[in-house]
Structure formats: C-alpha cells, structure tokens
C-alpha cells in the first residue's frame, strides 16, 4: 500500500476546509480546535488507511483561500472526494472523546433486555385497539 503523508501544508488546508464544515458555535469547538487535522485525522487513517488517497487528492486541488467556495466546488464536481472529506472530518470530530461527551454520546453500550419486566408492547393495553379492529389482510381466495 502506498503511504500518503499529510504534511503541515496539507493539514492546514484540511483545517481550513474542516472549519468551514464544522465551525465553532453553540458552545462547541470548531473542527480544527477539536483536533480534526491533528491526532484525530491520524486516528481515522489508522482505522481505515483507504481514506488517505481520496483525501490527499481533494486537498491537493482545493483553494482554501476561499474555503466555502472550495467546498461548493468539491461537492458539485467530485462526489467521491466530497464523501471522503466529510466522512473524515465528521468522523475525526466525533472520535475526540471530549466532543462525544459534550454531545451526549456514550458509545454503543450493551443494554440487556430485562427478561423479567413486562414488555413495553404489553403495557397500557397498547395492542387492544389493534386487536379490536380485527384482521387487515385479504385471505387466500
């Protein structure tokens, strides 16, 4: 596999685009403030190195003097690059455990189904009106 390195210039470009995608606001940090172009980019590329090539191609051609304009161009002319860029940026943002904590995402926990409790579909007579209405299928002719 070809190793794609993201040097300081590439990371600066990514930070500019990422902050246009996820700016600071509502008490939340921007993408670059959350480390999207730093350690969390590295984490994404460790999880799936396949993002490196498409992301590098997007960054190579992006004019980040106008990040919003660059994003519009990527979205309209390069669907694959747009998909890679937005997945990496959002993926890296939410990989930061502090961001996950602040949006209230504890990860996918194991929540056993309580076998001893009355099932919620059996409570409050929920099914009574369905049963009272009777069959809703056409029988075999």
């Amino acid at each position: 596999m070809t190793v794609v390195l993201f040097d300081a210039e590439a990371r600066a470009k990514l930070a500019a685009l990422a902050d246009a995608l996820i700016p600071a606001g509502n008490g939340m940090p921007s993408a670059s403030e959350a480390g999207v172009a730093g350690e969390w980019l590295d984490a994404i590329l460790t999880a799936d190195p396949g993002f490196a090539g498409p992301l590098a191609a997007v960054l190579e051609h992006a004019d980040v003097a106008d990040p919003e304009g660059a994003l519009r161009k990527i979205e309209t002319t390069d669907p694959g690059g747009w998909g890679a860029l937005t997945t990496v940026v959002a993926g890296a943002y939410f990989l930061n455990p502090e961001i996950a904590r602040r949006v209230g995402y504890p990860g996918r926990r194991a929540i056993p189904i309580d076998a001893d409790a009355e099932p919620d579909w059996a409570q409050d007579g929920l099914l009574q009106s369905v049963k009272a209405r009777g069959p809703v299928y056409r029988p075999t002719p």
Binding site: A20, L21, I22, P23, G25, N26, G27, M28, A43, I44, A47, D48, G50, F51, E68, L71, T86, T87, A90, G91, F94, L95, P97, A100, V103, G104, Y105, G107, R108, R109, A110, I111, P112, I113, A115, P119, D120, W121, L126, L127, S129, V130, K131, R133, G134, P135, V136, Y137, R138, P139, T140, P141
Partner: protein, 532 residues
C-alpha cells in the same frame, strides 16, 4: 471419498436450511461457498472508530468491497445497486434481521389484483414451514398479528418498542392504523446457540454478540455435526451435464485457482437472485442451462426502498436498540387501486444511528445540509431525537429488468454479472404515497419535522425473481418444488424462484420455501433421476 448425494452451491440461508435438513435425513451433502466464515474480530461496535471500520469491513456492495469472494456486478444500467454478502451465512451476516412472513395475498397477486402471477402455493401451504424455520432461526415477535391469519407465532418475545416505538404505536392507535411488535431474527433470550440481544444497534454490520439469527450460528455448525461437508473459498464456474440432460455436478476453483470437478446426484443452487442466474447462464451454451423458457435472469426484483425520518423534541437515545425494527406497520400493504397503483409496502420503525450518521446525505437529504454555521444546531436536532420508517416497496416482475453476464471477471477470470433494472411507474407512485403516509404517521407521533430521504441506489438487498417458479415450463424455470423443468436433478432453492416480490423483507419466506422444497426432494428421493 464417494460423490455426495447432494451438492449445494452457496452457504447463505437457503443453502443452510437445505443442507441441515438433508443431513438430518442421512443424505451425504457437500456445500461449495465462494467466501469464507465471517471474521467477528472485525465487528467491534464498542470501539469509537467502528463507524469508520465497519463501512469497509462489513460493506454491503460487492463492487465497493471487492473482496476475494466477490464477482463484479455491472450496475451502470440499473436504478438500484445490488447488495450481498458472499461468505458463509450469506445475506444473513449483514441483514437487518427484519423477519417478515409474506401475507396471503402475496401468493395470489394475479387472482386478487389481476396482475403478474400467482405462486404455485398458498400462504396456508407454507405456514407450517414458517413456524419451523422461526424456531431454527430464533425469531422474536408476538403471535396473531392482525395482518396475518392466526396461528403459532415465533418462539421468543418481541424486542422492546422503545420510546420511539411507543410514540408511534400510540399514534397509530389514534389514527386507527395497523402496527404490531416487530418480528425480528433477533434473540431476546438465550436460545440455542444464540445469546440475548443487548441493543447495540449494529445488526446491519454483523452481530458479534451472537444475538442475530445468522445461519453461520444457527445452522452450519449443526449441519456440519450432522456430516455436511462445507468447502469455503470454492468458486463454482459451471454446472456440468451429460448427454441425457442430467446434471452431473459442478466445476469449481479453489482459493489457489486449481480446478476441481465434483460429481453429485443432485445439484441445488442457493447463490441468490444474481449468483444463481449468473451460474446458469455460464453453464450451458448458447443460452444457459435450464433456460428453455428464456426466463433465466429475467424478472429481477430488488424492492425500491424508502425512508422517512421524524425529528422529536424528546430524547429517544436513537443510536441504540435492535436494528432490526421496533415495530412494523402493514396498514397500506394491500392493494387499493384508488391510490393510483397496485400492491403496497411494509414499514419498519428503526433507529437513526450514531453521530456520524447524522451528517450523511442519506437519509437526511442533500437539500438539508448540516455543514457550516448551522452544524451544531442541526446535529442536536437529529442526534438521539429521531426515528425512521424503512419502507419496503413491492416491485412487479418485468422481463426487461434482468441479470445477464457482465464483461468484468472475478479473480479467477470467471465472468461477473450485469444487472439492468428500471424502477417502474407503479413503484414510483407507490413509493410517493407511502412516504407521505409514513410522514403523516411520524407527525401524529409527535414529530415536529419529517424528512423524506432521497431515493438512493444502494438499496438492492433483496434479489428476487430471476428463475421463476411455475407449473408451465414455457413460462417458468422451476416447478413448485424448485426443480428446473429442463434438468430433473438440478434445483434452485433461493429467492430467484419468487414469481412476485411481495413487499416484505424476504429471508423468512426464502428459508420457509427452502425447507418446503427440501422436504419435497427428500420425499421423492426414490424417484429422483440422477446421472449414471
């Protein structure tokens, strides 16, 4: 080693049901599977980066996955791309486990609606087989759903409705619309080899908790203990025949590409609605094997899929839960021609996923961009406070929708498939109607905003109809028992045989049909012609 009595191509649900049952009756069975066993070491839902790795490791599109077991599928002329898992377990590895029986009308479309074809069997004939496979797969649900004839239900209690499901259930009660606790191939209690579900919401990306009824867990170990030989990484290139027109076996290539000829008394194809016609078309020159009707590969049906999301004020923790479905509705399943189309669709209520899923154009729509100054506000509205109806739309059989051989080749140089599929006007009208009604449902449940997801191509989970079942050899490929009209010891047991598609997730009926056809084969064993 003696030749097997029965050779099965494909280790998905239809092959698994057949192999297990045949072995129980003492048949010598060999199964050839082009893929490998699932690697649950790659199913890590507790890992923070699972949403990144799962998209790669449990990808549904074989073209995107491009694994060793995958053959290319040219979908350049198809409105929908075909999705599948090529490995032991087949589609069950990545299915949502929504376990839907077909309704009685699904078997009598011609008689009731004057279109397409009746099946050469009825709901009542298949019902005992549904009951039996539901025990084998560890199905959860509640008996006597009012959308089906009364009878024995699944062995395990239904999954919880959850907060979103209870909202929708109450709303449907007020609307007078059908709903029922969802049937799922998700164990809600310890059951056989299955463990109880812990609601991580990752059914579609393999279940490492062993709670999902997948045949690598529920069937293959039992079948192997009963003597079935399951050969993985074995890619079948053709079904071989003799001068008498009987199948003699297959030619397959192993992992290293070495060619093997394997003889058997009976050959069963269980390679899905694309793999099975592909193999038949590769097997007999010039038009393919068992194709005197000309219908092999034709009438491809893939179920256009719709999604409608509701946004709620309340915290619903909607990244967790069975996925799967919390409940289903069949309110608009039956034909009402005043709606401007025939047939209908099934709805299943589902979670919306983890944070990354809140940013994607599906289901949220490119017209609802989250990016930019409104990102955090938009994210807060969606995350944990949304639920969505998944809509399985029946598509009608049309010969122009088809599987043919493609120009691309797999790693062994064997030709891939090409699909040609256009969504019909009936399907388009049907989908629009159902999306509007589903939005109405969610608004009645308290959603302050609804989003009708864009139609995307990557929804072809259900591959049906390409080796049609029927009584007339001129208009069908197999008979009511899966036996090809042209080759008396060649059978098709997968979803290819469906005369019409219904509007249901198909695995329940694929499994029940496979069991029924297997037992017919067992019953006729003494009359069964085999090659000398």
């Amino acid at each position: 080693m003696p030749d097997p009595d029965v050779l099965i191509v494909g280790a998905g649900p239809s092959g698994a049901v057949a192999a297990k049952r045949l072995a129980e009756e003492g048949f010598a069975v060999t199964v050839l599977e082009q893929g490998d066993w699932p690697d649950y070491g790659k199913a890590r839902p507790e890992a923070a980066d699972f949403d990144i790795t799962a998209t790669r490791d449990w990808a549904w599109d074989p073209n995107a996955r491009a694994g060793k077991a995958d053959y290319p599928i040219d979908d350049s002329e198809s409105d929908i791309t075909a999705l599948m898992w090529n490995g032991v377990g087949g589609g069950t590895i990545v299915y949502a486990a929504q376990w839907q029986r077909n309704m009685p009308s699904d078997f009598r479309v011609r008689s009731l609606d004057g279109i397409a074809d009746d099946w050469p069997l009825t709901y009542e004939e298949l019902e005992p087989y549904y009951v039996r496979v539901e025990k084998d797969f560890g199905i959860s649900g509640v008996a006597n759903d009012t959308a089906f004839p009364p009878g024995e239900g699944p062995p395990l209690p239904a999954v919880p409705l959850g907060p979103a499901g209870r909202k929708v259930a109450r709303a449907h009660n007020e609307l007078g619309w059908h709903w029922w606790p969802a049937p799922n191939a998700i164990a809600t209690r310890a059951y056989g080899a299955l463990s109880p579900c812990v609601q991580r919401g990752v059914c579609l990306k393999a279940c490492k908790d062993r709670a999902k009824g997948t045949v690598d867990i529920t069937h293959w170990p039992v079948a192997q203990d009963a003597g079935v030989e399951l050969i993985t990484k074995a890619t079948v290139r053709e079904v071989t025949t003799n001068a008498e027109g009987l199948a003699t076996g297959v030619v397959y290539l192993d992992d290293e590409g070495a060619e093997h000829a394997l003889r058997a008394g009976v050959v069963i194809l269980a390679a899905n609605g694309i793999g099975t016609p592909r193999l038949l078309l590769m097997s007999g020159a010039p038009d393919g094997l068992a194709n005197s009707s000309g219908l092999v590969g034709k009438r491809l049906m893939m179920h256009p899929f719709g999604t409608v999301v509701g946004l709620f004020e309340d915290e619903l923790e909607s990244w967790q839960g069975p996925w799967g479905q919390w409940l289903h509705s069949l309110e608009f399943y039956e034909t009402d021609e005043s709606r401007g189309f025939v047939r209908g669709a099934k709805w299943g209520l589902q979670p919306t996923g983890a944070p990354l899923s809140m940013t994607t154009s599906y289901p949220w729509g490119a017209e609802n961009p989250i990016w930019g100054p409104g990102f955090h506000e938009g994210f807060a509205k969606r995350f944990g406070r949304s639920a969505m109806w998944g809509i399985i739309a029946e598509d009608l059989p049309e010969e122009s929708n088809r599987v043919v051989l493609g120009d691309g080749t797999d790693r062994h140089g064997i030709r891939g498939a090409k699909i040609v599929y256009e969504m019909s006007e009936n399907s388009t009208r049907l989908m629009h109607f159902h999306e509007e009604r589903a939005a109405e449902s969610l608004r009645a449940a308290g959603a302050y905003e609804t989003v009708i997801a864009p139609q995307i191509r990557a929804t072809g989970w259900h591959l049906l109809g390409t080796a049609k079942m029927g009584t007339d050899p001129a208009t069908s490929v197999v008979d009511a028992w899966g036996r090809t009209h042209d080759v008396p010891n060649l059978f098709v047991f997968d979803g290819s045989v469906w005369p019409t598609s219904a509007g249901m997730n198909p695995t329940a009926t694929i499994a029940a049909m496979s069991l029924r056809m297997t037992e017919a084969l067992i019953a006729s064993r003494r009359e069964q012609a085999v090659a000398a």
